[in-house]
């Protein structure tokens, strides 16, 4: 039995392991999210409002009113604390947590809010025993820790967050863990056989690298939750799985058909360096996000950095003209794509703007800032980033602010911009034309999709086995089109699993967003989850001819240094935010 035959038979375990992995986490994530939606509209611990009026409708209709990280007071049914009175506006005031401090501010100019009988004009930090006056009603802000301090007592948490049964979750995670390990073992054993036997150096390099990553993975999987008890292991496993698939397919593309004259890894150096840096930095990022409020303070810096990155790329950028974009910048001998890093900073800015129900003025400022950023993106032009960031922005915006009408307007103007792009950029028009003629003819505009689809079609359900595909002749098979070769070698099931992995990431980010104790974390986790999901959807539907191709690449699977690093950082932030504690800032 030769190596190709072996690989062909091993596709069954590989595909089944992946499907099992995905199934476990899909089950776990959807159940956890349902549970979270049902029970965990988590009130903040140790802080609440006390009301002396009996006719205030609230959760449970009690005298003590719970506070959430963002609590709205008003007469509308969407308000967290509903006050029915002619003197109270539909959306009157908002109390929110930011940087460990509770703030209150009025939501409209016509809804006066009084603190200790003084009307407030700006957001004001709340103190223990502050009397909040809204209409004819008044509330008392209670900080239990402070109250206890005044009474010379120590305050302790007495309510645990409602949580999905840990043992149930852990058994599923363990199933995922073992299928991952087996996948890892089979995958890398196969890869070593693909490398020409003359390349002894490459083989030892691969074995050492695979071993090192496996040790690192286990170390993180078992040790990190000891340090950060709330760390989302599922996200870490999914991150590892996506990285593994990416590395397997990239090494396979380099190894099969190699002549043995030079190292097969020469083309993969940046990929390896990015993965190494990303994985080594992971604990640091988790620590910074979980234990400090450093992210909250990065808002202004990032607001400057994002356009700066784009501007530098615009001025110094170089790259293949044929793709219609020049996104590479050489810094200290390394070619990097600053536009990828701009995604991280953009999300941070987005979250810090919409951490609570932003005032119209702030929304307007954001709109101007975003307009500048998008103008720069379109000047590059980096259509892929625009196609990903625009929907992400919109979703974070609508979830955090509930401004449905404005969202609709943005959506419409976004479509107008899209139509404009069609007329302005010739390569956009070419891509759309190529897409529309997909099934009738093969031309320069759709060749890569047609060839990619032929590969996908050839793979069938289970694929041909790692190394048995035919990547020859597909343009950009390492980066843009990697999904099609993945489908050819590991089958349609793997393709579907990749889609599911990204929706699982979103489900988990939604869960973290709900459980977060401040609006900033909610916004950021939601932004990251949404960005990853949308990027995957746009890329996958692009390479399979469901939508016009945009030039974005599949996160973690496609070749790329900057993009891999960016995605790893995003996952690091996501993991860090999942591990955040309510009193996170104080334990430092």
């Amino acid at each position: 039995m030769d190596i190709f035959q072996l690989s062909y038979l091993l596709r069954y375990p590989l595909v089944f392991l992946l499907a099992f992995f995905v199934w476990r986490f899909l089950l776990l994530s959807s159940r956890e999210l349902r549970f979270t939606f049902k029970y965990s509209i988590t009130p903040s611990k140790g802080f609440f409002l006390m009301s002396d009026s009996a006719d205030i409708r609230s959760e449970g209709n009690i005298q003590t009113l719970p506070l959430f990280h963002t609590t709205t007071i008003g007469s509308s049914s969407g308000s967290d604390i509903r006050v029915k009175s002619r003197l109270v506006s539909r959306r009157h005031a908002i109390i929110y947590l930011f940087d460990g401090v509770w703030f209150i501010r009025a939501l409209t100019p016509r809804s006066p809010v009084y603190i200790n009988n003084t009307e407030i004009l700006h957001p004001v930090p709340l103190q223990n025993q502050d009397r909040i006056g809204i209409g004819a009603y008044s509330f008392l802000f209670i900080d239990e820790a402070a109250s206890a301090g005044e009474a010379s007592l120590t305050y302790e948490d007495y309510v645990e967050d409602p949580e999905y049964p840990k043992s149930k979750a852990f058994s599923k995670i363990l199933g995922g863990y073992f299928s991952f390990c087996l996948f890892y073992l089979i995958g890398f054993s196969l890869l070593t056989l693909f490398i020409p036997s003359e390349n002894t150096k490459d083989i030892s390099l691969l074995l050492i690298g695979a071993g090192a990553f496996f040790v690192l993975f286990n170390l993180y999987f078992w040790l990190l939750p000891l340090i950060f008890p709330k760390l989302d292991r599922s996200i870490f496993l999914i991150l590892s799985m996506l990285s593994l698939i990416g590395l397997l397919i990239q090494i396979r593309l380099a190894a099969v058909g190699a002549t043995g004259e030079k190292s097969i890894f020469s083309g993969l150096t940046t990929q390896f360096i990015s993965f190494s840096i990303g994985f080594i930095l992971l604990p640091l990022i988790i620590f910074l996000c979980a234990r400090t409020f450093i992210l909250e303070h990065l808002g202004k810096v990032c607001a400057v950095l994002t356009p700066l990155f784009l501007l530098v790329t615009l001025i110094l950028g170089h790259g293949a003209e044929s793709n219609g974009a020049t996104l590479w910048v050489t810094i200290a001998g390394f070619s990097v794509q600053l536009t990828e890093f701009a995604k991280v900073t953009y999300l941070i800015v987005l979250a810090s703007f919409f951490k609570n129900r932003t005032t119209r003025k702030d929304q307007f400022i954001f709109a101007i800032w975003a307009a500048i950023v998008f103008a720069l993106i379109m000047l590059l032009p980096d259509l892929g980033s625009a196609m990903i960031l625009l929907p992400t922005t919109l979703i974070v915006y609508v979830v955090m602010t509930s401004e449905y009408f404005t969202t609709l307007i943005i959506l419409l103007s976004g479509s107008a911009v899209g139509a404009l792009a069609f007329t302005i950029f010739p390569h956009v028009r070419r891509r759309i034309l190529g897409w529309s003629t997909l099934w009738t003819e093969v031309n320069d505009n759709n060749r890569q999709i047609v060839y990619g689809l032929q590969a996908v079609g050839r793979g069938g359900l289970f694929g041909r086995g790692l190394g048995n595909g035919s990547p020859g002749g597909i343009p950009l098979v390492n980066s843009d089109m990697v999904f099609s070769i993945l489908c050819e070698e590991l089958g349609l099931i793997t393709g579907l699993c990749i889609v599911l992995l990204f929706i699982i990431v979103w489900l988990r980010s939604a869960k973290i967003a709900v459980l977060s104790h401040d609006g900033y974390s909610s916004g950021l986790t939601l932004g990251i989850g949404t960005l990853l999901f949308i990027e995957a959807v746009i890329v996958i539907s692009g390479v399979t001819g469901l939508l016009p191709l945009t030039g974005a690449t599949l996160p973690l699977i496609a070749q790329g240094g900057s993009s891999v690093l960016t995605i790893l950082v995003l996952f690091g932030i996501l993991l860090g935010l999942s591990a955040r504690k309510e009193d996170g800032g104080e334990t430092l």
């Binding site: 069954y12 999210l33 979830v399 047609v450 689809l453 590969a455 349609l492 579907l496 399979t544």
Partner: protein, 465 residues
């Protein structure tokens, strides 16, 4: 917080819908590309070599290997002459020639067409990666002999079994080695063109068989009808005529044996435009024949309302704005149809497939393509056609030990020498073979094409014995 949850749920629903749409779309695109994107024109040529590295073997009817994959290479018939003779039928893995076994049976050869269970069963034997083998009805040796008989001249030969429809040889000349097709270099003019299936030739006097059938069926038919042929048309000044002093007094039987243009020109006019067209269509003119997954270019007939033109079409020579042409395959099928009592069987090129585990499936079955004529009229025609080989224009098509019925043809083509044609078949049930031979610029059909037809039929009969 309430609003946040509500919004999140909204986005959740939206994203779930997007995911489901993507999953469904992905599966659909996969299914669709599997079935629709194998068009030869738009193929990823670079990937084809990898894909054919483990493809199945193509065997001829005698078990000779016509194409196989060995050590990652696709190799064609060992005998270079056989490889050239079957080139346009077998094709090449780069699909530089379309409408071939290699291109149209790609799914079978690569093993992409199996259902999950079959595939899984093969996987258990460790054979799943290999494609299925295909056994053809074509004989490499016979094709080689036919190819040699054409001797580098442009032309085509089709030999088929008229009882089963099996094509024993389908040769198109000039041809070239598969190697140069794959490299796409040093290819003689039109060598990639399958004349046998896709050539469009005026049938010439072989069309008189159809005119005769139409006449036999028409109310104008008179068994005692004769014509005094002096070489000049009896229709009008511009009707079908011939060179020389004519054949003297001829009846239908003589006219077929000696291929008398004047007689058939007159008979065509007597039968009428519509009846002639209908009979031609009954014999399959205008019909696209599929040879398993391969297709043959359909023939065409169109006669304007003009008596002299009609008389020319009736002898198989389209003039002015009339249209009359068909493929060599169809000509052989017409001969076979007469031989088979008026029933034309579906042509076949593929006998069966074999899985890597040795299981044979999709055995070809005999079925009727169409019925053109009654058996009685066929036997009448046959008797006249036998006259051709016994004392007519096609005596050189005779095969010793067998009775051969034939009809020769010579077609004038503007600006070049005449095309030589001959259709013939062995009447004996022990060797039910029909042949069509076309030699472009070969001169008189009786001198160039008929000897080839006779030799090929003899070889086919010998192969059988």
């Amino acid at each position: 917080m309430k609003m946040l949850l509500r919004n999140l749920k909204g986005v959740l629903v939206l994203f779930l819908l997007v995911s489901i749409a993507l999953l469904v779309g992905l599966s659909f695109q996969q299914y669709r590309s599997k079935n629709e994107l194998n068009a030869a024109a738009g193929e990823n040529k670079q990937a084809l070599k990898t894909r054919y590295a483990l493809a199945g073997t193509i065997y001829d009817a005698d078990g000779v290997i016509l194409a196989q994959s060995k050590d990652g290479e696709r190799i064609y018939a060992d005998d270079p002459d056989i490889a050239e003779a079957v080139l346009q039928v077998v094709g090449d893995y780069t699909h530089n020639i379309g409408n071939t076994i290699e291109s149209n049976y790609q799914n079978i050869l690569l093993g992409n067409d199996r259902n999950l269970f079959r595939q899984f069963a093969l996987d258990l034997f460790g054979k799943g990666l290999y494609g299925d083998d295909i056994t053809l009805t074509e004989s490499g040796e016979l094709a080689k002999s036919a190819y040699h008989l054409l001797d580098g001249r442009k032309g085509a030969i089709v030999v088929l079994n008229y009882q089963t429809g099996d094509i024993l040889a389908s040769v198109s000349s000039p041809s070239t080695s598969p190697d140069s097709v794959i490299r796409y270099q040093d290819i003689p003019d039109t060598a990639l063109f399958n004349r046998a299936f896709s050539g469009s030739y005026a049938p010439g006097s072989t069309f008189k068989l159809i005119t005769a059938s139409a006449y036999l069926e028409s109310p104008a038919y008179n068994p005692d009808f004769t014509i005094d042929c002096d070489g000049q048309s009896t229709v009008d000044a511009y009707g079908a005529s011939e060179t020389g002093d004519g054949h003297g007094t001829v009846n239908l039987s003589d006219a077929i044996a000696r291929s008398c243009n004047v007689f058939f020109g007159q008979v065509g006019v007597m039968t009428g435009r519509d009846a002639l067209t209908d009979t031609a269509k009954a014999f399959g003119y205008g019909r696209t024949f599929s040879v398993d997954r391969l297709t043959a270019t359909p023939g065409a007939i169109q006669i304007p309302d003009n008596v002299s033109t009609l008389s020319w079409v009736a002898i198989g020579q389209p003039v002015a704005d009339s249209v009359l042409y068909t493929s060599p395959l169809h000509m052989a099928m017409i001969a076979g149809c007469i031989a088979n009592g008026g029933v034309m069987v579906k042509p076949h090129i593929v006998q069966y497939f074999t899985t890597p585990a040795g299981e044979v499936y999709n055995q070809r079955s005999v079925s009727n393509e169409l019925t053109a004529l009654s058996p009685e009229l066929c036997s009448q025609l046959e008797t006249m056609m036998i006259g051709t080989t016994e004392h007519g224009t096609g005596t050189s098509a005779a095969v010793s030990g067998y009775t051969v019925a034939a009809k020769t043809g010579t077609v004038q083509v503007q600006g070049q020498k005449n095309n030589a044609l001959c259709v013939a078949y062995i009447t004996d049930d022990s060797a039910p073979y029909a042949v069509a031979v076309i030699v472009e610029e070969g001169g008189a059909g009786g001198e160039t094409a008929a000897p080839i037809a006779g030799k090929i039929l003899g070889l086919a009969a010998k192969r059988q014995g």
